[in-house]
């Protein structure tokens, strides 16, 4: 089930909210857990039991860690992490590593399994790992009840696409929270913004991107390459940040405060800053559970660069079981490393820095989106060397129309341009005003209209 689907909007959300509103508070966690399991099972009718297994394993491990000290405590932690990584590794990376071994050896001696990736596994296994590590470190007590732990792992607003929530940030809210009409109102507003970002901007740009990336690379000229790259840069931002907005908004409607996951990342002045604004919860997770335990920047310059390399390698690998994702991660890591010397300069020349960072991120997204690394590199070549690839390409109308152009302009304005240039007085007056409420109503109607239109499937005459 996805937030922008009819079944979530018209059935799941009203029913779950309504039931949560009328039942006694002490049953709320149970209700939300059941709802979350139904939410997950809707898309994964059998793999929901895998998630239940992850929940049970980590709850037991958490209890065992909490009940022991010293080496035994450490052993249980290792067992838990190994279990979580093994599950993630099997479902997400078994095929990748098997292919890699075969490629290194030069023949197909290892069977390459074809395993469908369970939805959200990268998110809930990381949440499980953060839970048992936090219990080990004493940052939080083990969950008093299984239902608390289960709800933390499976809570439907953040289950499929994050943010990656740490148990210590939400445990108190699981045990005790209040739903007020203000939270519901603000949460629904946030949800609508996220829905509009996904449906009205990301999906529209996605049509343009899919068309351009379906062409053979030999047909792509400079103009088409730039349009495709920019369209994807905004598609992925509005898709991901839109989903996070919906998650945060939904959490708020049920009384939870989920931390922000995006902070206008395309206004970043450096790649280093970018990773503090983009998918904040993932960057925070890697920093806390990989970078710092490896020593961070406390063990000298060389070790710091090695640690950064590892983190960005893993960040890329986390995004997908393919070398193109790893390369994308290392691409970001490379710029992050070379910026270390120049952060002061970047901070001084803000506009130039923002443009620099945007271009680097843009190129990175080309590597991320392309079918393979070579195609991505050839694509970038077409962007930066137009003289080598004259206008031999496809007419613009083949992949772009007035709607795409309009949405693209809105996307650019919404990436932070309006935030920078609109005076604080106006934005404060706008926030939570009746005008903004009407604007949100319009966005909601347009989003629902777009979703409904995707269900329209006519035939030229009645088939018999």
């Amino acid at each position: 089930m996805v937030f922008s689907s009819a079944v979530f909007l018209f059935i799941f959300l009203p029913i779950v909210f309504g039931l949560n509103f009328v039942i006694k508070k002490e049953y709320s966690n149970g209700l939300l857990l059941v709802a979350s399991l139904i939410f997950y099972a809707w898309g994964e009718p059998y793999r929901v039991f895998l998630m239940l297994a992850v929940i049970l394993i980590n709850w037991i491990v958490g209890r065992l860690i909490g009940a022991h000290e010293g080496n035994k405590k450490r052993i249980f932690l290792v067992i838990g992490i190994v279990c979580d990584l093994a599950i993630l590794g099997y479902y997400k990376y078994a095929g990748f590593f098997a292919s890699l071994i075969n490629r290194i050896i030069g023949e197909d001696i290892v069977l390459v399994p074809s395993i469908a990736l369970p939805i959200g596994i990268s998110f809930f296994t990381f949440q499980a790992i953060s839970y048992i590590v936090d219990v080990y470190r004493g940052d939080t007590e083990p969950a008093p009840k299984l239902v608390n732990m289960a709800l933390y792992i499976s809570f439907f607003p953040q289950l499929i696409a994050g943010p990656i929530v740490k148990y210590r940030d939400i445990n108190k809210q699981i045990e005790e929270r209040e739903i007020t009409w203000i939270k519901v109102s603000r949460g629904f507003r946030r949800f609508i913004y996220g829905l509009a970002k996904k449906v009205l901007i990301s999906n529209v740009l996605g049509l343009c991107v899919d068309t351009i990336y379906s062409y053979d690379i030999s047909l792509i000229d400079c103009r088409t390459a730039w349009i495709g790259a920019l369209a994807y840069t905004f598609q992925i931002y509005y898709d991901f940040s839109g989903y996070s907005d919906m998650a945060i908004g939904l959490g708020q409607m049920f009384g939870f405060r989920i931390q922000e996951n995006f902070n206008y990342p395309y206004l970043s002045k450096s790649i280093t800053e970018f990773w503090r604004r983009w998918h904040i919860s993932l960057g925070s997770w890697f920093r806390e559970y990989v970078y710092i335990p490896l020593g961070g920047n406390r063990k000298g310059k060389i070790r710091r660069y090695i640690n950064l390399f590892i983190v960005f390698f893993l960040t890329g690998l986390w995004h997908g079981a393919d070398f193109s994702f790893v390369l994308w991660g290392l691409f970001h890591g490379f710029f992050s490393m070379i910026e270390r010397k120049s952060l002061n300069v970047l901070n001084r020349f803000k506009i130039v820095s923002v443009v620099y960072c945007f271009i680097i991120v843009n190129f990175g997204w080309v590597l991320f989106r392309a079918d393979n690394t070579l195609t991505g590199i050839r694509y970038i070549a077409r962007m930066v060397m137009p003289w080598r690839h004259p206008d031999i390409g496809i007419p613009t109308w083949n992949y772009m129309d007035y709607k795409t152009l309009f949405v693209g302009i809105c996307a650019v304005l919404g990436m932070g341009i309006l935030k920078v240039f609109v005076p604080e007085k106006i934005s404060s007056a706008w926030k939570e005003s009746s005008l903004e409420a009407m604007y949100c109503l319009i966005l909601l109607i347009l989003s629902l209209a777009s979703i409904a239109s995707n269900t329209y499937n006519p035939f030229i005459y009645f088939s018999f």
Binding site: V7, F10, G43, S434, L441, L444, L446, A449, F462
Partner: protein
């Protein structure tokens, strides 16, 4: 106070959203929801162990067809795309100039980039001759009629961005080949219709919002066919006609407008009611204009026309606009949909016609021309 008003409004919007099914329950009886999609809507599935894994997708299919205010939302979205962004809301429909709509399936014919190879032409000719011999062995006249695509007649209203290759179209290629290499009788009134357009620029021969020709286009298109069969309709100067706003098939509406999801907004087009094209009295046994079963199946037309021949019209939807003129010209016309549930070799043999007309629209191709492939 100012900010609280906005929050209160948001809360009201949320509550109203949660009660959207309740609102729909009261509104639905007053909302006309025609099935413009030409398909059966999905039925509500039942959950059982046997369909546990498939149930979510089955339920979503059902829900997608029964959303509250669905048609209103679709209409809103498609009107925004159509009127503001000048964007086709269907992958199958091209927005032309002057509000003309075209079927995307005809684009290759229009651009003339789908010509047949020599081998393919030879195969078509062989298939045609096989069918021709089948009928002529029974003493039945055999004639092929090709209804031109709308873009073949009104191509000037296609968007400029679609380039047209020089040379013949695929249909012109086939007609030319068959004419040169066989003696099959084949009528493709493309030139005749273009001449009519030139001569009578105020006449609209095809619908703007539909793939078909209207009854005026049918009149002018049928004339060359009848001439080939030795029948002449009254001259156009003798005919009275008036404009009406009705599609060829009342149960289908304007098909291209339907495919855009804009049947409620794009509902004005030009058809004609013609009188005086024949003095014969005509009786219809079944009317496909307002009955889909007659369209998909068969119906008859009889008249007291001088020509005593019985005509079997194996047609598609383009045949509908020809019926009044064929029906008035022959003693009996049996009209059967070639891909319908009635058409078969046995039916043709049982009807024992004097003339067999294989009518096809230009875009449909030649896959079914060989009688051997017809149902028994």
């Amino acid at each position: 106070m100012h900010s609280k008003i906005g929050n209160r409004i948001m809360l009201i919007i949320f509550i109203a959203f949660c009660f959207i099914w309740v609102m729909w329950f009261f509104v639905e009886p007053y909302v006309v929801t025609d099935n413009n999609e030409n398909r059966e809507k999905s039925a509500r599935p039942s959950l059982a162990m046997s369909n546990y894994a498939e149930y979510p997708s089955q339920y979503e299919e059902y829900l997608n067809d029964t959303l509250p205010f669905r048609e209103w939302f679709i209409s809103l979205n498609n009107k925004i795309d159509f009127y503001i962004f000048k964007k086709s809301t269907s992958d199958s429909v091209i927005l032309g100039k002057e509000d003309w709509l075209f079927l995307k399936d005809t684009l290759a014919d229009y651009q003339r980039n789908n010509l047949y190879s020599e081998q393919e032409l030879a195969q078509i000719a062989a298939d045609v001759q096989t069918t021709q011999k089948y009928f002529e062995d029974q003493g039945i006249e055999f004639i092929i009629f090709i209804g031109p695509n709308k873009s073949s007649i009104y191509g000037e209203n296609m968007p400029e961005k679609y380039e047209v290759n020089s040379g013949a179209s695929r249909t012109e290629q086939v007609v030319d080949y068959l004419t040169r290499t066989t003696d099959v009788r084949i009528i493709y009134p493309e030139m005749e219709l273009r001449q009519v357009k030139e001569e009578y620029p105020d006449l609209q021969l095809y619908f703007k919002l539909d793939t078909h020709w209207n009854y005026m286009g049918g009149y002018w298109g049928t004339k060359p066919l009848l001439r080939e069969l030795g029948v002449e309709l009254e001259d156009f100067a003798e005919i009275q006609y008036r404009e009406i706003n009705e599609p060829d098939f009342i149960w289908n509406g304007y098909d291209l407008a339907n495919m855009l999801g804009l049947a409620d907004a794009l509902n004005q087009d030009i058809n004609y009611e013609l009188e005086g094209y024949s003095s014969a009295d005509v009786t219809y046994y079944g009317n496909p204009r307002d009955n889909i079963d007659y369209f998909n199946g068969m119906f008859r037309v009889s008249s007291n026309a001088e020509d005593q021949r019985k005509v079997f019209l194996a047609r598609d939807s383009f045949g509908q606009a020809m019926i009044p003129y064929l029906g008035a010209s022959f003693k009996e016309v049996v009209s059967v949909h070639r891909e319908g549930f009635k058409f078969s070799k046995t039916l043709v043999e049982n009807e024992n016609p004097n003339v067999f007309i294989y009518e096809m629209v230009e875009r449909s191709g030649w896959d079914l021309i060989n009688y051997i492939s017809w149902p028994e």
